[in-house]
Amino acid sequence: MPHQSTISDLRARIVRRDLAARDVAESCLDRIRAVDPRVRAFLSVDEEDVLGQAAACDQAISDGASGKPLLGIPIALKDNLAVRDQPLSCASRILEGFASPYNATVVERLREAGAILFGRLNMDEFAMGSSTENSSVQVTRNPWDLERVPGGSSGGCTAAVAADECVASIGSDTGGSIRQPAAFCGCVGLKPTYGRVSRYGLVAFASSLDQIGPLTKSVEDCARLLSVLAGHDERDATSVREPVPDYTAALTGDIKGMKLGLPKEYMVDGLDPEVRAAVEAAVTHLSGLGAEFVEVSLPHTEYAIAAYYIVATAEASANLARYDGVRYGARRDGADPIEMYARTRGAGFGAEVKRRILLGTYTLSSGYYDAYYLRALKVRTLIKRDFERAFETVDAIVTPTTPTPAFKAGEKTQDPLQMYLSDIFTNSCNLAGICGLSVPCGFTRSPRLPIGLQLMGRPFGEATLLRLAHAYEQTTEWHKARPELAAP
């Protein structure tokens, strides 16, 4: 069935005219109708629009178009990516009814590449969370076990890909929001190097940490998407003029001689024994493929969560100041503007968002700035240096993506700190600005839940990660598994 296929496979069939774009689109829409009432990955789907795009695509194909890299491929979007005239709510009440007046750069690039962009995928409100439970709209379920979370904040993205509701999706990652849900749902997820992909049109959470990235069923699909997404953009002053290679050319299958490091600081006591076993097995497997493991240490790993939750919340408190009810969004009236802002924001933001704004405001406030924010930025320097030092001796760093497999819905919602600790392996990557990828590396016994292997690379070293991940994937069977979404 088309909805179960990859970009690589579908594109070839579409170009050969074995399959029409319409067939693929309908296959996905049928699948969404069948499973999304249980998975709840989508906040909305405009079926008419999807079929319209597919029809236009088929027309272009019969007129001779065949070169576009994502021709006819249905790709769904996280609800924090701007698409002109479409809802953009970041799963928040404060943006209820908001329609974006412009397109994100990544949206333009994907469209130009022939993709059929559709849907608004559920997320933790303003990307703040690790389970998608902070959405103000609905709870998304993990297709592998509907009692469990898909991870977050890009939980809608990964649930949709895992359930074959779309061929791929685009999410964002600030502290692990692509990689952690990818691990929980058994997909491939990539956080590019900071500055690799334009953030223009991504609703900002933490401006020095955010990156947009692909969620896919295979490493090759991930490479294909990155080739389209990456590149300098004048409209994002933090995007970098680094040339974009053909990332698919990196997928040689050969990793002989690659030097890899498994930092001891990641193999902690709290690591789930099955996750530990899966990662150790992956290390053995990679050695078997010719990679050489070298001892490596990232001594400041234990401070990453603390540094992250100071830096990210500080930046968030600034970025979310714009939601004041003046120019857009849901407004609550007041006798004067200050009262209007306070009521609008009090009513419009969910609990986690409020907590983070409060924390960020506090750590930036007079008297506390040096002790918290400035300090955290210095710790960030140490974390960055740890990676620089490690990359002097290794080409990539290998770790578990998460300390445990997907947890049950409601399990961590009472204690915010517990939720934050689940990001322990992914935060450092954002702080240092380097690239990170999660690839499936096994399953727990019972229930059968995906386990993710994280690979981290030098700035602009995505090709190395993709090469490594692809070689691993193609010599294992994990990527072929699909959840059994039991018939209702």
């Binding site: 009814g97 329609a99 007046p101 412009y102 900071y194 500055g195 020095s208 004048e234 002053a237 933090t238 970098v240 234990e302 401070y303 969560i305 603390a306 540094a307 939750y309 100071i310 004041d324 009810g325 003046v326 120019r327 857009y328 407004r331 007041g334 004067d336 503007p337 200050i338 009262e339 209007m340 306070a342 924001r345 009090g346 009513a347 933001f349 609990a351 409020k354 907590r355 704004i357 409060l358 924390l359 506090y362 406030s365 506390y368 002790a371 400035l374 955290a376 930025l377 210095k378 710790v379 960030r380 320097t381 140490l382 960055k384 915010p416 934050y420 240092a432 600005g433 380097i434 700035p459």
Partner: protein, 95 residues
């Protein structure tokens, strides 16, 4: 730095967030625990370490100071909760 220094009501005012008394108490307690956790950073010797606000080495990215088309007014206004004559309407600021 004591975690109990957090005056939730004052910080909420700075952040223009209206909280119920229950929220104040609840978030205050939760954030107290988070602050206790992040206080571990005070254990580190950071003498001589420069802060990193931005992971890349980009500096002063500019473009030529030339006027270009920007977001048309109608597009900018289309999500306005209240508008009049192309202006956003808000409660009175000055008496």
């Amino acid at each position: 730095m004591s975690a109990t220094d957090l005056d939730v009501r004052y910080v909420a005012h700075l952040a223009r967030l209206e909280l119920t008394p229950e929220e104040e108490a609840h978030y205050g307690a939760q954030l107290g625990k988070v602050l206790e956790y992040v206080n571990q950073l005070s254990q580190l010797d950071l003498e001589g370490i420069e802060p990193t606000a931005h992971a890349l080495s980009l500096r002063n990215v500019t473009r030529p100071d030339e006027t270009r088309p920007s977001l048309p007014r109608e597009d900018a206004m289309r999500n306005a909760p209240a508008q009049s004559d192309g202006l956003f309407v808000v409660p009175k600021i000055v008496e």
